[in-house]
Symmetry: C2
Subunit: 475 residues, 2 copies
């Protein structure tokens, strides 16, 4: 199965069938993408012939003499069976069909999709789609996303692979990653739509075995084959984290889903158990998913569940500590020698326990002292750096520099929350340029560490040393 | 009790005791604030005399001949008892003590605070603090927040009153409101710190009776008097919504809190019941609190729990629908006539049920048609406007204009989620300029309506017609 997707990502030649001369139409955008980013050979097909993006438009695939490894079909649904048949005859074994108008629109479309399936079988083709965005890999220069760059910005190459049942989810998420920090996030993106052939299990297997993929993000509404998916996930989650959204959690959601990728909700409590058993970190909200990318994509795994919190606001420390409990984490107890140093270094009105509360009197240098102490303490597994920058003597630029210095070490998970207005937003932007994870609230920073730590607990339960799992921290 | 805080907010003269000539020191900032924003008479006191911000520095309160309604004490803790005694002798009845170094720092501070309490009693003073930010009201020109405007931006006048046990929480929240939409949010802000006299119940009573306050935000870690607070809340929550954070939910949080405002955690499940019984909308995260301000501060109350969702992405519709269930809301069933119109107007591949899925083929005008239909349908109580702007034919500026047109009506709660990258961020900024609530994910938009609807259910349970409760929609 894994070979199917390999055929696409390893293709040396790609053919765009339905290349369009109308600007911004899907067939125009995909042709543009291949002409401009694909390092292999690109062929464009349009029955009217002519030229597009400086390349010849073949009137049919049969005009092309060379062997074609893969094709993207961008023709309307009614012409799709013929185009697929032609591709089969031409010997193209790997086809992406982005067009919609199949099983997702009801009876008529279901019938059409069945006809397509028969052709696929006859010619032993691998098919992605229909009704999908297809594939995207910035490193390999493969991009069948039919939305122009002016609409959908492309992120750069990085550790995260994504596969999604919903193309719209995929597009929106890719768009978000394009403005998250350095934008260097994506390894492989797979949108398989109606999954007439290649499905969630194939996608999981491929990215699971892909050495450039350090973490896997999924969006599913249902399973084509739940059993094989869970089995595969159990293997892969011991090597790299899998996280994401399984929507259709509720009857209401299922009702909404029925009209779009023809998905049926199952008993969600069972799904929840199965996902957790397979080591998949399930999130239910978009915010959490973005937070996942930020920590799993930049931080090493912690070795345990002991958290140190450094703050300049007692209230923020309390909120963070509440979340420590909610996430089944512990507040670390500092080693005696570290504790003694903190007690002796800081004025008596600072709270030097955990959370370390530097109070509204804090200067940036206090953060350096506290953060370094926490970093050096073997009793601390992860560190939360909370700052409300409005306090009078805190220089935000010094705080940024100190945070950068600590973040560089990458020996322990280290997250920052900047809470407030202009200075908080400024600091966040500056730190995020270097992909240093910054959250807008104490709770979200702690929760991100909670997700990392949950994954470590899962690994340990299965006898895996978390130090052997490397994620995005090397990027 | 309510008269106590009235005395401060109605004060015609304010004295800053401990006015400092050192730039950016608390005593300097507070003096600056009063000189520049307070419409009444301001007196500045510093034992060295001289001049500050163009005003005379009195060497002591006794040098001032006029009657003084209220004072802000910004002297170090060790001089505070003397300053309070002097204020008492001078006949100042209303004192804000912003300085820290009292019960929050342990035994020595507890003793000091007791001495202060005796002086307060002797002179029958009303005291806010110590260890607090004190008061802020943009409309009344009262501002004892000792952080300079370069650090802590001030929001403008609006419907929201806030009281907080944690000064840091208050400062960070005020700072956030200063860059939320139009920044026109705050009516009264009360930070009472150690609550040696005026506490959470006094604050609640004051803002509850204040006609400019349309909604109340609270941050509490413990209660000085839980019973009277809940009793007061039960009355007020029938007139205007109260929402906020009761931190110290967990033992870990309580441990963190102990070192800061000397708060003790109680059994949180009981607290949860009591808050809910008193009609207080409890939120546990910062994000939710900001979302509360956005909906309660701009939208009318819904008359029921029936939600319409309009989307251009099936996946977003499914996630929103899942949240509809999570929040105990219902997907509205459109009236036959509205449904018929939708079916006839839109192409057959749009899903015209609820959610209305305009698909990736949507143009902005489709949104207008769908939104107007939902708005006009008596079966719809609230509307969620979801957009993933990357789709090829959607003009973001047209979408913004259509959203603005619908948002103006203010007859039904109407929330928008813009999900994606550059265009989503641009659209959010443009709409938020007019305080039109936009969320970054489908779930958060629905959840915001869930909170509004929960409040309506509470009102109805107590026989109150939600149409009689006006909030921030008139701003």
């Amino acid at each position: 199965m894994t070979t199917q997707l390999k055929n696409f990502f390893n293709a040396k030649s790609f053919c765009v069938i339905g290349a369009s001369t109308t600007p911004n139409k899907p067939g125009n955008v995909i042709a543009y993408n291949f002409v401009h980013t694909f390092p292999g050979k690109t062929f464009l097909v349009n029955p009217r012939g002519g030229e597009l993006h400086g390349q010849k438009l073949y009137k049919s695939v049969f005009e092309i003499e060379e062997k074609i490894d893969a094709a993207c079909l961008v023709v309307p649904a009614k012409y799709a069976t013929q185009a697929l048949e032609d591709s089969g005859k031409k010997g193209i074994k790997n086809i992406i069909i982005t067009t919609g108008g199949f099983s997702e629109i009801g009876e008529e479309g279901v019938l059409l999709q069945q006809q397509m399936s028969e052709i696929m079988k006859k010619y032993e083709m691998n098919v992605i789609g229909p009704n999908c965005l297809g594939l995207f890999s910035p490193e390999l220069g493969i991009d069948t996303m039919f939305l122009p760059g002016t609409k959908l910005k492309r992120p750069e190459s990085g550790p995260v692979s994504i596969f999604t049942q919903s193309g719209a989810f995929g597009a929106a998420f890719i768009d978000q990653l394009s403005r998250l920090g350095s934008a260097k996030w994506v390894s492989k993106f797979i949108s398989y739509g109606n999954a007439s052939d290649i499905n969630e299990t194939d996608s999981l297997e491929y990215v699971g075995n892909d050495s450039d993929t350090k973490m896997i993000i999924i969006y599913l509404e249902d399973f084509k084959n739940g059993r094989s998916f869970m089995q595969k996930a159990r293997e892969i989650s011991l090597k790299k984290p899998i996280m994401g959204i399984k929507a259709n959690r509720t009857e209401t959601g299922a009702k909404a889903g029925a009209s779009h990728t023809a998905a049926l909700s199952s008993n969600d409590a069972i799904v929840d158990d199965l996902l957790s058993d397979a080591g998949i970190i399930r999130v239910t909200t978009w915010d959490k998913l973005k937070d996942c990318v930020l920590v799993f994509g930049t931080q090493p795994l912690p070795l345990g569940d002991r958290i140190a919190i450094i703050t300049d606001g007692g209230g923020a420390g309390v909120m963070a500590s509440d979340m420590v409990s909610d996430c089944n984490l512990k507040l670390a107890e500092f080693s005696p020698i570290i504790q003694k140093n903190l007690d002796e270094t800081f004025p008596s009105f600072y709270a030097t326990g955990n959370p370390i509360d530097l109070t509204g009197s804090a200067v940036a240098e206090d953060y350096r002292i506290a953060l370094e102490a926490a970093y050096e303490d073997p009793n601390v597994d992860s560190i939360v750096n909370l700052c409300i920058p409005v306090i009078p003597d805190l220089d935000i630029n010094e705080f940024i520099q100190i945070t950068k210095d600590i973040a560089k070490r990458k020996e322990k998970p280290f997250v920052t929350a900047l809470v407030g207005g202009d200075e908080a937003v400024y600091g966040t932007k500056e730190l995020m340029k270097d992909d240093i994870p910054v959250f807008p609230s104490p709770g979200r920073a702690v929760r991100a560490l909670g997700m990392l730590t949950d994954y470590v607990k899962y690994l340990k339960k299965h006898g895996i040393d978390p130090r052997k799992v490397s994620m995005g921290e090397g990027k």
